[in-house]
């Protein structure tokens, strides 16, 4: 298991991509608007939650810079910021590095053990 991180509740902390995908409704919203920009009303039709709840999720997603609002006539369309989603891959890269560190420690240990055997 990986050592677990301390949850940072600091309010000054800027929202990030990981907060965006931490909630199943927000992940569903991301999936929907990945295909095409949508209005809050159109989005709300896909969920069993209130229009207000959808708006709240959209606000969080906006704060995370994952979606962008675009005014078109009377309607506001929300669209996905694909570049921002790429941060998830960068984050996976960090995880990979942990394994690299762990394995290089094991390499050293194995080489020490081999020497002892001889």
């Amino acid at each position: 298991m990986q050592p677990n991180g301390v949850v940072n509740n600091s309010r000054e902390m800027r929202r990030d991509i990981f907060q965006a995908i931490a909630d199943p409704t927000r992940r569903a919203i991301i999936t929907l608007i990945a295909v095409q920009a949508m209005t809050p009303n159109a989005l709300a039709e896909h969920f069993d939650i209130t229009r207000q709840a959808v708006s709240k999720h959209l606000r969080i997603l906006q704060e995370c810079d994952v979606v962008r609002a675009k005014q078109q006539g009377r309607e506001i369309y929300y669209q996905l910021e694909i570049e921002k989603m790429k941060e998830i891959d960068k984050w996976l890269e960090q995880f990979r590095k942990i394994w690299e560190t762990r394995f290089s420690q094991l390499d050293d240990l194995l080489s020490t053990l081999k020497k002892q055997k001889k």
Binding site: M1, Q2, P3, N4, G5, V6, F18, I21, A22, P24, R27, W91, L92, E93, Q94, F95, R96, K97, I98, W99, E100, T101, R102, F103, S104, Q105, L106, D107, D108, L109, L110, S111, L113, K114, K117
Partner: protein
Amino acid sequence: MKTALLFDFSVNRENNTIHVTRAFDADAELVWKAWTTAELLDQWWAPQPYRNQTKSMDFREGGVWHYSMISPENETHWCRFDYEKIVPHESYSGFDAFCDEAGNINTGFSRMHWENVFSQSAEHTTVTITITMDTLETLEKIIAMGFKEGFTMGLNQLDELLSNLKKQ
């Protein structure tokens, strides 16, 4: 400079699995020992700057490895690995979970299922790890934690860099 050994890491979001494959420059007997003996696990299991400390180890089917990972600030994370199936020198599987000092599982996190397969070729021993999580959220949580650690490690590397620069 070390020779590059096979290392593959991938995440499958559809199956909620992480796949890790790595070759080691030693025979299967030795690699197996390093993965299944507490004194040896303590020397490599926790990624730096964490250190690993085993509280108890009972390596048999149904047995438990109870251990902690300790940060440089002495922050302790207790974990337990419950062994499920063991085929000596070939594979073992089980569940890894966060717990407390007494071994009570932290239900705030889902357990992860591990399957580690060891295969020896003429030159190397390859370990293939499949970690399965019950939900995508768990996978994301685990990776988010890794992010924090990666950051700590980054700082570590910076320390090294600074100390090298000082020497010049």
